[in-house]
């Protein structure tokens, strides 16, 4: 029993960061109709910046347990900086163009960010040296779970609730949902679409960088983590349904838990099972479990 719970908890932990990145993918796809391959790269950038922030925070003599505060701050700030730059500098030119070109442009961003990371941080993997264990472990129903993992899961749930609140109950959320349905309508109602696009893309970027920042205390960073994560995030949105937030949530849980079950039982089948499910979903219900609906 104990091991099953352990597997479940580690699956949910993976799912929580995966959800953030996938949510970033979904919101941009929902509004701009751009499938952003670069959201994995934002995640990688967030992770690298996070490691710098944590290390300098500890080296600066600040109380170590508080490292999570500047970590989250850095994740948010980074997204707020690079989001508008990438949107204004590149993405805005391909709105309304063929999907092929949009996909290729985000692929170009993936290539560029990968080398930016290599240029700044080199190619060798880096860790925070197990700083996450400073919070200790907790015994939950017979499973030992690092407290840090629980904090990340909690953060992710709060963000999920926040996104839900923004989308359903604020003016900005209503605008997003309206433009996701019909762009011309938003324009006709006098909404500044340019600002909406900047905000939405920045939101997508922030979710990615924050996800990356949150994950690094528990794992090592490598320069390929972006291109590796995007295929997982891709699996999440396909299973959940393109453009659907609920889909991102359920999809992330499914992929995260499935991955950790596979790792502990049949490691050979780890990614294989996920792709088989992706293909099965695309064949049976190409719009995904929750696709075709609202953002």
């Amino acid at each position: 029993m104990e091991s099953i719970l352990n597997i479940l908890f580690s699956g949910v932990f993976h799912a929580s960061t995966l959800f953030l990145v996938a949510a970033g993918l979904q919101v941009v796809f929902g509004v701009q109709k751009v499938f952003n391959l670069a959201c994995g790269s934002f995640y990688a950038l967030g992770a690298y910046v996070g490691i710098v922030v944590v290390k300098s925070f500890v080296a600066g003599g600040f109380p170590t347990p508080l490292f999570i505060v500047p970590l989250i701050g850095a994740g948010l700030l980074l997204g707020f900086i690079i989001g508008p730059i990438v949107e204004r500098g590149l993405i805005k030119f391909v709105y309304g163009r063929d999907e092929t070109f949009q996909l290729l442009l985000t692929f170009a961003i993936v290539m560029m960010i990968e080398d930016v990371i290599k240029f700044i941080w080199g190619t060798s993997p880096q860790t925070t040296g197990g700083i996450d264990l400073i919070y200790g472990r907790l015994n939950l129903f017979g499973a030992t779970v690092p407290v840090y993992n629980l904090i990340v899961i909690l953060c992710s749930l709060i963000i999920a609730a926040l996104i839900g609140y923004i989308l359903l109950s604020t003016k900005f959320g209503r605008i997003i949902r309206a433009t996701a349905e019909k762009k011309e309508m938003g324009e006709a109602l006098g909404i500044n679409m340019k600002m909406v696009y900047i905000k939405v893309f920045t939101l997508g970027t922030v979710l990615g960088t924050l996800g990356g920042a949150l994950v690094i205390p528990a794992t090592a960073v490598v320069s390929e983590m972006g291109v590796e994560l995007i295929v997982l995030a891709f699996a999440v949105v396909v299973i959940g349904g393109l453009g659907s937030m609920k889909g991102a949530f359920i999809g992330a849980l499914a992929v995260g838990v499935l991955k950790s079950i596979a790792i502990s039982t049949f490691p050979e089948l780890e990614m294989l099972t996920i792709y088989i499910i992706v293909i099965a979903v695309l064949m049976i219900k190409p719009q995904g479990l929750f696709g075709g609906g609202k953002v």
């Binding site: 499938f35 590149l90 030119f93 391909v94 999907e99 092929t100 070109f101 996909l103 290729l104 442009l105 692929f107 170009a108 961003i109 993936v110 290539m111 560029m112 990968e114 080398d115 930016v116 290599k118 240029f119 291109v227 295929v231 891709f234 699996a235 396909v238 393109l242 490691p267 050979e268 089948l269 780890e270 990614m271 294989l272 792709y275 088989i276 992706v278 293909i279 695309l282 064949m283 190409p286």
Partner: protein, 323 residues
């Protein structure tokens, strides 16, 4: 004054002769790069039948290339089948069968869903190659032994000399043959149907074209082309690894196609050549060649989606209108 058609034919023959005589004047290294060009050119030629002519973007086409390369590795390494012609035929059979199977699923969708499905199949194969290491060598990959060409065992010749000599001419003739076959395909009624499907699938359906079936045929042909390219590339490198089928490698193939210009028959070939030689140049200058290539790709997408061929043809048109 020569007509446009005979001018074009003349240019092609000159380029063909230049390529044929290439190893006699160029260094071994440059000839070797040219060899990889032949392999990639065959792949993008197949990819463009799908992308440029049928309007379907495959983001997992490296899958078929890896199928070809691993077929060569398995046959030479595990079954001691060294005859190149047999390897190519078997690779074509396997890849066509796989393409037929995968194509049945994929051609039901277009645009982003088609791209995603092909990407998923490519990554499925990637994780298979990576995880079943006792069969595939995992991330270390497998060796591809030197094949026999036309039944001749040429293992006496030093490797580099073999590659830039006998093997070069062998690949050149396969390349020319496949370019010719593809030219026949795209200018046949079948090729015209594909273009009609790309431009307006509903209208094509009204005209009695079975759209899905034609997309399926195009998918199979392009899969077979990619596999032949994979066999040639695998034998040239002498080694295969799972990175061949990773999604970023599929992206590279699409990049080449776009760079040259997907709207033109020869565009992808130009793109392949420019990509390979430019990559070699940039890599010798900086380790951060990906950044530069990413910037080039972004520029192409935003400013010149027609690629090199598109720019050339618009220049030619401008000149004509001035005359």
């Amino acid at each position: 004054m020569m007509s446009l058609k005979s001018t074009k034919a003349f240019i092609l023959i000159v380029i063909g002769l230049l390529l044929l005589g290439f190893p006699l004047v160029a260094s071994q290294y440059v000839s070797y790069l040219m060899l990889t060009f032949f392999a990639y050119a065959i792949m993008v030629l197949g990819l463009n039948l799908l992308f440029g002519y049928t309007g379907l973007l495959s983001f997992g086409h490296a899958f078929f290339m890896a199928v070809g390369a691993y077929t060569a590795a398995f046959l030479t390494g595990k079954f001691s089948i060294l005859c190149m012609e047999v390897i190519i035929v078997i690779a074509v059979i396997i890849s066509s069968a796989l393409a037929a199977l995968i194509g049945l699923v994929c051609v039901r969708y277009i645009k982003i869903y088609f791209a995603m499905l092909t990407l998923a199949f490519g990554m499925l194969f990637y994780s298979f190659l990576l995880k079943f290491y006792y069969l595939t060598g995992g991330d270390e990959g497998m060796r591809v032994l030197q094949p026999h060409l036309l039944g001749f065992n040429l293992s006496e010749i030093p490797k580099m000399q073999f590659l830039t000599g006998n093997y070069y001419f062998y690949c050149f003739f396969i390349f020319v043959l496949l370019v010719f076959v593809m030219w026949k395909i795209v200018s046949s009624p079948f090729g015209l149907c594909l273009k009609a499907i790309r431009d307006n699938p509903e209208k094509a359906e009204y005209l009695g074209i079975n759209v899905k079936r034609y997309r399926w045929y195009a998918f199979i042909i392009s899969g077979a082309y990619a596999a032949i390219g994979g066999v040639l590339l695998g034998s040239a490198i002498g080694h295969v690894d799972p990175g061949l089928t990773y999604w970023t490698h599929s992206g590279t193939l699409v990049f080449m196609t776009l760079l040259g210009g997907f709207g033109n028959f020869f565009g992808p070939l130009i793109g392949g050549a420019v990509y390979i030689f430019l990559q070699d140049k940039v890599m010798s200058l900086t380790t951060y060649w990906r950044f530069i290539f990413g910037a080039i790709l972004a520029f192409l997408v935003i400013v010149a989606p027609g690629g090199i061929a598109g720019v050339i043809s618009s220049l030619v048109k401008k000149e004509k209108s001035i005359e």
